[in-house]
């Protein structure tokens, strides 16, 4: 007999069974469905690896991200030996992704680029999340004429060509680093606001909200206990789909020369530099482009997986 256990109550088995059946909340259910989705799980693992590499790249590689070595200009990638002459000048060295035209190691630069691209993606998405959720929830919860007016503003903003405004902002503020995050975030909250408003409106009219009101729960309690949990699902899904959009927007600006500036780098900058010399050094384009494409893929797969997991009726 297992120590510490009293002899079984006649109904113990039944109780255990009942507990096993009961113990599954909506979120646990969603998590289970998400983890059964192979593409989503593989994407999460890959993304985690890329993020870890971005954090620990100075430990992994001996090269500094801005160190120039003029004896190693545009070296081809070499993975195993340092003796093979992979550089046009005859020098060699283990540069996993090769080097660029001023002799900087592209492996290190690719993952330093990952740092900035991922940071922009996450920070700008958080900005858009904060604005979008507050705006949408306020609009949906207040309702009536205020709602109509607030949504009209969103409609107006929707028809603006935003990339142009971001470009103007970047030019005026001289490519300020932080502003880049905020500017991209500030222009991508519109869809978020619409989603949150729609969800709030429909949640507000549900019976359980009415019941809570009848039971004397205050407005704050209703919002935090009942509205927010019902809005969270679609918001999470949209967040995972906003991050790749923001990463793309940042690389778009950097490609045009309006984003991140030297010696810092991002995937957009690396791709732009790589595209310039793809004839002689295709690795300078292929590695950063592949890294970015993989990341965007992963976010999209996770987003799709989350949508399927959180919204069972949509399958």
């Amino acid at each position: 007999m297992i120590p510490g256990r009293t002899p079984a109550h006649p109904d113990a088995q039944l109780m255990e069974k009942a507990q096993a059946v009961k113990g599954r909340s909506l979120l646990a259910d969603a998590r289970r469905r998400l983890f059964r989705n192979k593409a989503a799980v593989a994407s999460m693992v890959l993304l985690a690896l890329i993020a870890l590499m971005a954090v620990f790249v100075p430990v992994v590689s001996p090269y500094a991200f801005d160190a120039q070595d003029y004896s190693k200009i545009s070296c081809a990638p070499s993975w195993w030996t340092a003796d093979v002459p992979t550089c046009p000048g005859g020098a060699g060295g283990t540069h996993w992704f090769g080097t660029d035209p001023i002799g900087r190691d592209l492996f290190v630069r690719s993952f330093y680029g990952a740092r900035i691209s991922l940071a922009v993606g996450i920070v700008a998405t958080l900005v858009s999340l904060a604005i979008g959720v507050l705006y949408g929830a306020a609009s949906g919860f207040i309702g009536g004429r205020t709602d109509a007016f607030m949504m009209r503003i969103v409609d107006v903003l929707y028809s603006l060509p935003f990339i142009f405004l971001v470009i103007i902002l970047m030019v005026i503020f001289n490519q300020n680093f932080i502003l880049l995050f905020v500017a991209i975030g500030a222009v991508s909250w519109l869809t978020m606001a619409r989603i949150v408003r729609g969800q709030t409106l429909s949640a507000k009219q549900k019976e359980f909200v009415e019941a809570a009101r009848a039971a004397g729960v205050g407005t704050f309690g209703i919002i935090t206990r009942h509205i927010v949990p019902n809005v969270v699902g679609p918001v999470i899904v949209y967040v995972t789909l906003t991050i790749p959009g923001v990463i793309l927007a940042e690389s778009f600006l950097s490609f045009l020369g309006l984003g991140i500036r030297e010696p810092f780098t991002s995937w957009g900058v690396l791709i732009s530099e790589g595209a310039g010399e793809m004839e002689t050094a295709p690795w300078a384009l292929i590695f950063p482009a592949a890294l970015m494409a993989i990341t965007l893929f992963c976010f999209n797969f996770i987003g799709d997986g989350l949508r399927d997991a959180l919204d069972p009726k949509d399958r």
Binding site: S159, F164, V171, S251, A275, M278, P282
Partner: protein, 314 residues
């Protein structure tokens, strides 16, 4: 319907005003005047230049002057490209951008819907999966990656299949010759193709399950006839509402594509102007494109009302 159209046109005016005001005052926030960078000018000359461009007047007066000129279709002179007005530059570049955009959107709709229908008909089979994987690739890989890759394959290496020379020029306008258009149009259309394919597949899958399609099948109509005459009309409606965003996508995509392929369109002007701090040109292009996008969105919405009798435009 007419009432709706009038209301929408009237509604577009404040939107445009917002854009004009925003871009005007943002530009004035910029440090330094438009001629600050050149060389130190004698004060009299500096004053004359300021007077010539109305820069000596109070800001609100400058704004009113700008608005008044704008009402006459005059975007003012370019600060950096001397002897040209912004209006002239836009009118020079617009035909190029328009041709590129129209071809791209036509290609995107044609290829995207075809792929989407194909995927819907073969739902959850290899053809469906491969189309959807392609669509995912099309959405995630940005045009500034596909453009150099296609240039590399078709231009620099030159593709030869069965002795056919499929090489294409990697850039230049060449008076709009067909071979110069192929690569830019394809690059510009790839993203929209992917989105359109996804939308079409989704709505076609739904439509193909509906009762009137089953009835058509029961009557013994051939599959192509069911698709062309019955399913397509309902299945393509969601696509119409994507056309608005698609236009905006193609416009912003043209910034990149015109730059990479060296095409003399508006997009390239805009990027150069932004980098050179040619403020009037940046403002002019922004306002011009905003007006264009608003107009096209309006047309798309009206088209939606015509195509779908269930939509009541009020």
């Amino acid at each position: 319907m007419l009432f709706y159209a009038i209301r929408r046109v009237l509604g577009a005016i404040p939107t445009l005003l917002v854009i004009i005001t925003l871009s005007f005052f943002l530009m004035r926030l910029a440090p330094g005047g438009p001629f600050a960078g050149d060389r130190v000018l004698p004060p009299e000359i500096a004053r004359n230049i300021a007077a010539a461009y109305d820069l000596d007047k109070p800001l609100w007066q400058q704004f009113l002057i700008y608005l008044e000129r704008l009402a006459h279709g005059d975007f003012g002179p370019s600060y950096k490209i001397r002897d040209f007005t912004v209006t002239q530059l836009i009118m020079n570049g617009f035909p190029v951008s328009l041709k590129l955009g129209l071809l791209a959107i036509t290609l995107a709709v044609a290829v995207g819907t075809t792929l989407g229908i194909l995927a819907a008909l073969r739902q959850n089979r290899p053809a469906d999966y491969s189309v959807m994987t392609l669509a995912m690739i099309g959405i995630t890989i940005p045009s500034f990656v596909t453009a150099p890759l296609l240039q590399l394959i078709f231009g620099i290496y030159g593709l030869h299949i069965f002795g056919l020379n499929l090489s294409l020029p990697v850039g230049g306008w060449n008076g709009g010759a067909a071979q110069n258009l192929v690569l830019p149009v394809i690059v510009l259309a790839l993203g929209p193709i992917a989105v359109i394919a996804r939308i079409t597949r989704g709505s076609m899958v739904e439509v193909l399950r509906s009762n009137f399609i089953r009835t058509a099948r029961a009557k013994g109509l051939p599959t192509w006839r069911i698709i062309v005459h019955h399913a397509l009309h309902a299945g393509l409606l969601p696509l119409v509402s994507y056309l608005g965003p698609a236009i905006a996508d193609i416009v912003s995509g043209s910034l990149i594509v015109e730059q990479i392929f060296g095409l003399p369109g508006i997009g390239r002007y805009f990027v150069q102007a932004a980098l050179n701090r040619d403020y009037t040109l940046v403002m002019g292009v922004t306002i011009f494109y905003a007006a264009l996008i608003i107009t096209l969105n309006l047309l798309v919405d009206l088209l939606y009302g015509v195509l779908d009798p269930r939509v009541r435009l009020k």
